[in-house]
Amino acid sequence: MKRRKVDLAQAPAVFAKGVDERYRAATPLRGILNKVFPDHWSFLLGEIALFSFIILLLTGTFLTLFFDPSMKEVTYQGAYPALRGVPMSAAYESSLRLSFEVRGGLFLRQMHHWAALLFVAAIVVHMARIFFTGAFRKPREANWAIGILLFLLGFLAGFTGYSLPDDGLSGTGLRIASAIMLSIPVAGSWISASVFGGEFPGHLIIGRFYILHVLLIPAALVALITIHVALVFVQKHTQWPGPMRTNTNVVGERMFPRYALKQGGFFMAVFGTVALMAGLFQINPIWLFGPYRASEVSSASQPDWYVMFMDGLVRLMPNWQIYIGNYSIPPLFWPAVVGLGALTTVPMFYPWIESRRTKDKSVHNLLQRPRDNPERTGIGAMAFTFFLVATLSGGNDVIADKFHISLNAMTWAGRIGLLIGPPLAYFLAVRIALGLQQHDREVLAHGVETGIIRRLPNGQFIEVHQPLGPVDDHGHPIPLEYGGWVVPKKMNRVGALAPAIKGFFFPVEKPAEAPVSPGLPPVTPAQEREEITSGR
């Protein structure tokens, strides 16, 4: 029988043809390979969040293999001597075992925790980038709202996650969560009893938080992240204004090979950062906190950084209780329920609020520099100042202790700062934005300052400006239109200096000649300079 000859070189082509015959993949695949992405460092902030999330999934799965989400009371007999013989919940015991008796367990636990902190941090910084550059404008309003939801989910994932070990600190956090639920008018005690399965702490909460933390919240996160990234993909990325860039195109690199390769390298770098932090910086040393006891807490008990603003708002809230007949609304309700609710839902509507205010219904694919929209920049500065004051107040006892300030003074400073800081930040941000705008216009009109001072025959000193564009008959620059992008303000930005020489200790290649303007002699350094003295 004649055997068919197998041509190995043809195998990939044969396989690819087979795939395409079944799935008609060639055209869409080419579209993906060729898709053009604009490039700017600030577009990578969201990637950090995405990569941290991948690390969270990987390390988190490992942790579930050892964690026991049970509140059954056991007596610790493990490797950490200071806690031997102490009664504790099985959740705390298994967290200790995971840290001390699983090879590399502590490393992966710390990696999980650091990745979580980085995840939320990257979300916040990414959100700031989107906000200040106006990337949320039409057609991307929905994706902004999804982003806010992702922050809220990240917040909840973090809170449920650090509650799971059931150590002294996280139990206190749960206690506060129960108090927050209790503060809700009318239904508070029912909500708390239903969530905890009876009076705090009950026996169910760790198990319930566990399923939230490892299944429901991650599933929602995966779903929303998928939509978020898919929308970026379909709507195409925004880009900064610049040469060739218009509202109807994308200028950048094709996804393959260079862009994808850079993404891969960046993922490795984020992964490496988390690994280094997990190895070198201790995070959440639960064995020092001991098991949760309702009667014990120490000072300097702070939550993870992204919950601190909540804690700060709760600390700053004056003790205003509202009485309605025999019923009352405790002050905790306002910062913790209304505050968190408003802070996570109102920003969702910002794109529509802004477009309504400015009556702007057009599509925007070009980003705005923060200076070009002073009002928005001011609002953003206001929001971040509010967040910053609240977050610092979440650690006001530590600040008071370390800097020997009265605790009450810190609280009052926070209360006043929360009211005065944001408007002040708004004012400053708007002024700075306007000042920067003005300077851009100035350079476009008059040219770059050269640093050359010339004395005119009549004794007047003037500074020589290098026009950025053509000049009129008198040698005065013709004012240029602002393009929404960086205006060169230094001589080396307009090519007046030679390009940098490559090489670390010695040049690897002969440096290129300095560019010379036609019609002008090459610049030669003045051999001698005379000091200008007062006429002598």
Binding site: S189, M244, R258, A278, S295, L407
Partner: protein, 364 residues
């Protein structure tokens, strides 16, 4: 969709004279991409700079590999089990972190350097398509959806019987689906007797109607002599499991006031109808559970007689019925009525009169 870029001509991709890059360019043309520049970052082939970068990338990969091996070696052979005091195992996690970090950074930077330094520099322009579908497409899809809606709605409108049946039939199904999911979770906070929200472990009902002793964490009872003047002690109800989280509302702070403070505190307590006669001698006992958010208000300032909650810095003045004097708490700490039983141990004369713990809507 294959609308063609205006300034580029379509080519026949089967033309044997085309290079592979020509075919790639034809693909980008079909994807409405114009490759503006695609040029090597080096002057000529095998330039010195290119070789140097290739060497550096190779070095980065090798560093990554060595660090990876080091990670494995430390992971397997370095002593990792916890030992007390300064031990080699203290360095296990840092070593894992450093080696894995270096290894990943090595790979990451190698890939980044490859992409940024070796691959040709590229500027491509792709067209966007904003502003929705063509108007006739919008019209057709809109009409199709309206047709679907109309078909169903008219069907119901023409047949009123159907309308009622749908409402009657579907509503219960929706509720039936939601009920077991939510219903199973709902707990009545006021169902127990004595009601759990308003009672602690000091309620005699939990101790066969006998007064409950104040005990230490290990369950031993306390005599007045055990707390020195100006001292304080966290006490728990002397019932089985009284010091565990089962009785998370019960931890109490027993304070032995200095005589003059005690006099002031007694005068203030006796002036209050609910706290009247709750002190025993110079001893006073307050719930340790903060009325703000439920943290233990555990920092006792002996000099100022204040109790500070470390969570949100509510401060309570002990000599004035533990009224809040600073911070977010509105309500004073409940006072536990103290007395001493026939054997000379502290007991709670009865349960707290005020509700212990964070405030809520229907607290009396």
């Amino acid at each position: 969709m294959t609308t063609v870029h205006d300034d580029q001509e379509a080519v026949d991709v089967h033309d044997p004279r085309l290079t592979r890059f020509d075919i790639v360019k034809e693909g980008t043309r079909r994807d409405e991409i114009e490759i503006v520049t695609y040029e090597s970052q080096f002057h000529g082939k095998d330039s010195k700079a290119e070789k140097r970068i290739a060497r550096n990338i190779a070095l980065l990969f090798i560093i990554a590999g060595i660090a990876g091996f080091a990670f494995l070696a430390f992971y397997i052979w370095w002593p990792w089990q916890f030992e007390l005091g300064d031990a080699l195992s203290d360095y296990y996690t840092p070593l894992l972190g450093i080696t894995l970090g270096i290894s990943l950074f090595g790979v990451g930077f190698a890939i980044l350097a490859w992409a940024k330094k070796l691959l040709p520099h590229e500027v491509s322009i792709q067209r966007r398509h904003d502003g929705g579908s063509p108007s006739d497409e919008q019209l057709i899809t809109g009409q199709t959806m309206l047709y679907v809606g109309e078909e169903l709605a008219q069907g119901v409108q023409r047949r009123p019987l159907l309308k009622g049946a749908i409402a009657l039939g579907l509503a219960p199904i929706g509720l039936a689906a939601a009920a077991p999911l939510i219903g199973g979770l709902i707990q009545n906070p006021h169902r127990d007797d004595p009601p759990m929200m308003f009672s602690t472990g000091f309620n005699p009902a939990f101790n066969d109607d006998k007064m409950v002793r104040l005990t230490r964490e290990d369950g031993t009872p306390i005599r007045p002599d055990d707390v020195s003047t100006g001292g304080q002690m966290t006490v728990f109800p002397g019932i089985p499991g009284g010091a565990t989280n089962e009785w998370a509302d019960s931890p109490t702070l027993l304070i032995h006031l200095r005589p003059d403070d005690a006099q002031l505190a007694r005068a203030n307590a006796d002036a209050d109808p609910r706290n009247k006669g709750s002190m025993w001698g110079d001893y006073i006992a307050y719930s340790k559970i903060c009325t703000h958010a439920g943290c233990p208000a555990s920092l006792y300032e002996q000099q100022t007689n204040r109790l500070l909650c470390p969570c949100h810095q509510s401060q309570f003045l002990i000599t004035r019925n533990a009224q809040p004097i600073f911070g977010p708490a509105t309500r004073r700490l409940p006072m536990l009525p103290l007395t001493v039983d026939s054997e000379g141990f502290f007991v709670a004369a009865r349960d707290y009169k005020d509700t212990v713990g964070p405030d809520f809507w229907e607290r009396p």
